[in-house]
Assembly symmetry: C2
Homo-oligomer: 156 residues x 2
Amino acid sequence: MNKDNASLLTEPIVKFFRGKNFGFLGTVNKDGSPQVTPTWIDLIEKEENEDGHEEIILINTAMDRLKQKNVSRDPRVSISIVDEDNPYSMVTIKGRVVEQTTAGADEHIDKLAKRYLNADRYPAHSPSVKRIILKVKPEKIFYLPPRYTEYMQKIK
Amino acid sequence: MNKDNASLLTEPIVKFFRGKNFGFLGTVNKDGSPQVTPTWIDLIEKEENEDGHEEIILINTAMDRLKQKNVSRDPRVSISIVDEDNPYSMVTIKGRVVEQTTAGADEHIDKLAKRYLNADRYPAHSPSVKRIILKVKPEKIFYLPPRYTEYMQKIK
């Protein structure tokens, strides 16, 4: 078991994946320029694989979207998340897409639609769109705990 | 006057810069991997320069931060913004840092602190931090108008 990975996503980080926070996924385009796109995010806290238990971030996208094409060329990603309750608490996760799978991707987007939209089914299913799950292995975390709380209370 | 640039940021896009929306700034690290960081954003709707009138996005950061070092090496950026009132309305702006300046950067961060925090002065001024404005020229816009409005009303 890789203990370094097992402990990467500590409790304050895991909380970012429980609410309706978006992840802003950075990938690199073919010409080397950066690309950022907002996306729903999911976390498998303990997934058994050859390295032992570790956390995997799931991003559900569609085949041939820009981000899917980008990570197929270069799997390195950056995911930035701010807390919906206080955007001055944030985490940036550097990682790598270690697997892409269409298996269970339709059911998975329904599960995310429930959490994000409280919809029983993802409202944008389309026969022409093949959904795919990107599995991201976190490698480095940068976390900023809540700041400016006193201002947040006043402007809400 | 460059008419293409003058019309790039139309009214629905400009609105993203009026509220408290963060911009998620994508840059490219030295090793070619992507980097995403949340940031306050500002817009000069009409700035006169050698090309005539055009819009410039301002990002206020500090000298030697990762994003500042990244854009000094490769000025290409991607900025993703979702609407605070409906995160399913979004814009992604592909652009280029065309200028960096420390002139007026302290006053500018105070102005942003007023808009974002309703603070009279930026709370995190520090003598050890030299602030700098990155001027981003937008080159390509991808805009998604509001979606899922019916779900938004229910979960608020």
